[in-house]
């Protein structure tokens, strides 16, 4: 099986591995990112074409094409239709399918155990385990994010169940690795348990921690692909898989750090601990309300405005309206900028993606370090559905779970306007002293509607 492929196939795999790396490199800079995915796609075409011509493909050609047609058409339509804010679950879905494909390869090869040496079988088993976990775990994450499933914590003694299952899985994997005949029944048990493991891993994780978990599964799927690449003697798979695994692992760490959580915390005790800290509703006695017209005129006659978008903007899909508001203000000579906190919203870059979708210029978007330096010069800071990222208690209250997280210092601006629906809190479930701050005025209502009201108000000024 190994080394039976021909020179040109080897060459094609080599080039596709190179293209994947080059593509990933370009993807990691905003300017060249789009050509990056094209280059990676070229590598993919090459690898797929080479595989068709692979000497080990002895039959089933039509079946292969048929399977590709089904999978391709289904996901093409799906991926074209989905709205941008549902991207995380789509990534989870496709990622899970990739892990599942790796597991499928493993099971086919383990059914033909005699064809492989022990090191191949070991990695096949390892890849199958990881692939299965990524498969079922990602699919459940998809279902939870899409609102299809609301599994809670199924076991009261999860830790023990984890360990027990792992022990059985590893035992089965050991047997499968070191015998050179196929054991379909053991294999089935192995797969069922591995799939269950993924379900158990995802089920207790809170919705907001999902992006981190999805990134972890992405890395896992990459590793599974790399291992199955070794089993099949396909270096393109090995290189691409390892590349994704390493990149994904780093990305997972970066994402977890950005939301001020440790990965172990998310995985083992992810019962939304912060949410339990403060379940009492905030007392809004001291909040100064403002109506849309007043808010709009304050901004229309300001010189420097900063808009701070948060999760609420994403929920209400207000980004297009926000861009419209921005343009109106700029026509009046107001300088409008956007301040993006690294963990605003519910996934990394959430706000950037939304603002980009709405066509906000890249240059207007500033990160926390840049904008905090300028906050003192700002006349009006408009906070749209954000809470934790402007929560003053992060600065002062040492007991706050947010303590130590840098926030956007909107209270340094001359005045602050907050748009929110009611007495809801942010992801961390905490009171926000900003709302009671002397400079702050709050306008209640759905973010999109509030912004629309402000737009109308500004138009009526002329």
């Amino acid at each position: 099986m190994i080394n039976s492929s021909s020179f040109f196939i080897d060459l094609a795999y080599f080039f596709s591995a190179t293209l994947f790396i080059y593509g990933l490199r370009r993807m990691s800079s905003p300017i060249s990112a789009r050509t990056g995915i094209w280059i990676a796609a070229a590598g993919m075409l090459l690898a797929v074409a080479a595989s068709f011509a692979h000497p080990n493909v002895t039959g089933n050609h039509w079946l292969i094409l048929f399977a590709m047609l089904i999978g391709g058409v289904f996901s093409f339509i799906h991926a074209k239709r989905v709205v941008i804010s549902e991207m995380p679950q789509m990534i989870a879905l496709y990622n899970g399918l990739g892990g599942g494909a790796a597991a499928a390869i493993a099971s086919v090869e383990l059914l033909r155990a005699a064809e492989h040496g022990p090191s191949q079988r070991i990695l096949a088993v390892a890849g199958a385990l990881i692939g299965c976990i990524a498969f079922s775990g990602s699919l459940l994450a998809f279902a939870k994010l899409a609102g299809w499933a609301k599994f809670g914590n199924w076991f009261s003694r999860r830790q023990t169940a984890y360990v027990a299952m792992m022990a059985v899985v590893l035992l089965l994997g050991f047997i499968l690795s070191f015998s050179n005949t196929a054991h379909p029944v053991l294999l089935l048990m192995f797969f069922v348990l591995a799939l269950l493991f993924g379900v158990f891993m995802t089920s207790p994780i809170a919705q907001a921690d999902m992006p981190v978990l999805i990134s972890l599964y992405n890395a896992a799927a990459g590793l599974a692909v790399a291992f199955e690449g070794f089993v099949l003697g396909n270096p393109a798979m090995m290189v691409a898989g390892t590349l994704v695994c390493a990149a994904g692992a780093l990305l997972t760490r970066l994402m977890a750090r950005a939301v001020n959580r440790r990965l172990s915390e998310i995985l083992y005790s992810g019962f939304g601990i912060p949410h339990e800290i403060n379940e009492t509703t905030t007392q809004y006695g001291h909040v100064n309300e403002v109506d849309a017209f007043d808010a709009a005129t304050t901004m229309a006659f300001a010189e420097e405005v900063v808009i701070v978008p948060g999760y609420g903007m994403a929920v209400s899909q207000a980004q297009h309206k926000v861009q419209e508001l921005t343009q109106l203000l700029e026509e009046r000579g107001v300088n409008v900028q956007f301040a993006i906190h690294p963990v605003a919203g519910r996934m990394p870059g959430h706000m950037n993606v939304l603002l980009a979708e709405a066509g906000v210029a890249y240059e207007k978007i500033h990160d926390i370090g840049e904008i905090n330096n300028e906050m003192k010069k700002i006349d009006v800071a408009l906070v749209i559905g954000a809470n934790d990222i402007v929560n003053l208690s992060a600065r002062t209250d040492e007991k706050s779970p947010l303590h130590g997280m840098p926030i956007l210092n909107v209270d340094e601006a001359s005045s602050v306007i907050v748009l929110k629906r009611g007495d809801g809190q942010g992801y961390a479930g905490l009171d926000n002293p900003l709302l009671q701050h002397g400079k702050t005025r709050v306008h209640f209502g759905d973010a999109r509607e509030s912004v629309q009201e402000m737009i109308s108000a500004i138009k009526s000024l002329d």
Partner: protein, 132 residues
């Protein structure tokens, strides 16, 4: 393939992946997640080979599932990533276009303060039109 060679490939590709991501701005985290998700869709290359030499109903059905799932990974991953990145790009391009437009207009007519405000209003509605 020699196990040691595999070790080198794993080590080197892992380092490449790590270093390439190391300095990425957080704005790109989600597109990169999606993009690397697409890249591991190369599992399709393996799934094709697996189905291509599968024999018997069991192997063939598993292989069929594998190819189907892998293709979904590839196609869906590509479309989603490209859509996300297209938004970045169009925003950058749009912005460039607007800036050029404004600069051109400002160069053409040297206006008073009040007139300039009108001009920038024109250019803004121009670019709004182009967006649609």
């Amino acid at each position: 393939m020699d196990a040691f060679v595999a070790l080198y490939l794993f080590m080197l590709a892992g380092i490449a992946g790590y270093v390439l991501i190391a300095n990425v701005p957080s704005i790109l985290h989600t597109p990169l997640l999606s993009g690397s998700n697409f890249i591991h869709g190369v599992v399709l290359a393996g799934a094709i080979v697996a189905l291509g030499h599968a024999e018997g109903t069991l192997e063939i059905s598993i292989g069929f599932f594998g190819v189907m799932a892998a293709t979904a990974n590839v196609v869906g991953g590509y479309v989603v990533t490209d859509r996300m990145l297209a938004m970045f790009e169009s925003s950058a391009k749009r912005n460039k276009r607007r800036v050029e437009e404004e600069r051109r207009q400002l160069a053409e007519r040297h206006l008073t303060d009040a007139d300039t405000r009108d001009a920038s209003k024109d250019s803004a509605s121009d670019s709004t039109g182009a967006d649609a």
